[in-house]
Point group: D2
């Protein structure tokens, strides 16, 4: 996918479908999180590395635009990148693709907070470096 250098895959689970016979739209929100977790594992030592330092990454905004329905057992590729890191805030962008077709586009916004106080805390330097190194 143009502008994206990394992707992961999910298969649509039967539990994720609904009575319209397609993947329920909330399932995509979970898949985006799966993609973020794997992005972090691939680029920044994993989400648990962040959590072990007493930092939580909250999701502050979610936007998904659905272009096509996804069906049971289909394999979807989720192109994922981080953009706009500033202080305690950053955003992910995603394209969900199936066989060259765009199934959905999405972005999520996040803030890093102290796990104990839930107050904003800057993204750790090694995380910022990991993002810079990852590129698009």
């Amino acid at each position: 996918m143009e502008g994206y250098g990394w992707s992961t895959e999910v298969s649509v689970r039967f539990a994720e479908t609904d009575a319209q016979g397609i993947a329920h739209h909330a399932s995509f929100v979970v898949w985006l999180e799966v993609a973020r977790v794997q992005w972090l594992a691939a680029h920044a030592g994993g989400y648990n590395r962040i959590r072990e330092q007493g930092i939580e990454a909250l999701t502050t905004e979610v936007h998904v635009r659905y272009h096509r329905a996804a069906r049971f057992d289909e394999r979807l590729r989720i192109w994922t990148r981080i953009v706009d890191l500033r202080g305690a805030r950053f955003r992910y962008e995603y394209v969900v693709e199936r066989d060259g077709e765009v199934v959905a586009e999405a972005w999520t916004a996040h803030a890093t907070v102290d796990a104990a106080t839930h107050r904003p805390t800057r993204v750790p330097p090694w995380f910022a470096e990991a993002i810079a190194t990852a590129g698009p």
Copy 2:
């Protein structure tokens, strides 16, 4: 809530929480659907009335902005209204509130399609009328 004339309530289920100790952000997307279904029951004979006519209402876009965390067993009020009905498309707007505080703001976009062909089909007149009658 200013600008909203109708609301419903959900309680945060334990299954909807996550290891951050708060309601998982994807849970909100499900609650918005619960609110839509109850809005339709209150104003337009219920979602099944639409489905019985061979029409499905697809969700084409979801946007949620999280302001505060929600916790297990909290009761949340979801203010809900339809805006922007045009042909086969319409949008819902929502404010999720807890004791006068805004927990989240959201909107979703929808398109009515023929259940068999999945082609766009205009919103039925009685549905358009129900929306007009419902007001904000």
Copy 3:
């Protein structure tokens, strides 16, 4: 329901259905938890009263027998009772009913543990009393 003195209700959410057009079987496991939480609210001061004392109630076993399919927007009544309280262990039994028909039967087993150490800890006396008072 014979042998049961308390019940609560859930409506089948659209997100809880699957591509067979019926409520996904895992949804029932979540509804049983909703019923337990409401049983505790009705009889023992709520689940948070237990959690505030540093005790967690773990689920150690789940059994569900499905008799009939449940469909979107159907209202199900969940008959619920506690049986077999012994030390740190107790069981719930359930009948999921719709209009006089049994949709599912279920039981779950639980153990109370110290939230910090996750070691078994006896059910608090006030909880045991609440159970005794609740009756079947």
Copy 4:
């Protein structure tokens, strides 16, 4: 795992955890389904091969016994086998394992029905053969 010749893996998603900091017990029920779908793909041409013939495999019973908690991002191996095929009914058995430890044991019972009428219909011969060939 003794007595099991096939397994698959899942990673615990963050959305699958709960406020106890562990994988929610209903998540296991979804994972068992993921294992069944992959078992069918490995041994019998996939679940869609069954669905394409107008047959649905309903879940009629679920039993899970939880031995240990599973945590976010842990990789779990699900040992899976079919037992007791008779007419329109069969059972799966499972052991969920992490690094040689048993996390959970489970079984599920299923019935094949005609997708249109939801009446019991015998398991197709090729499916019965696939099961016989698969062995334990």
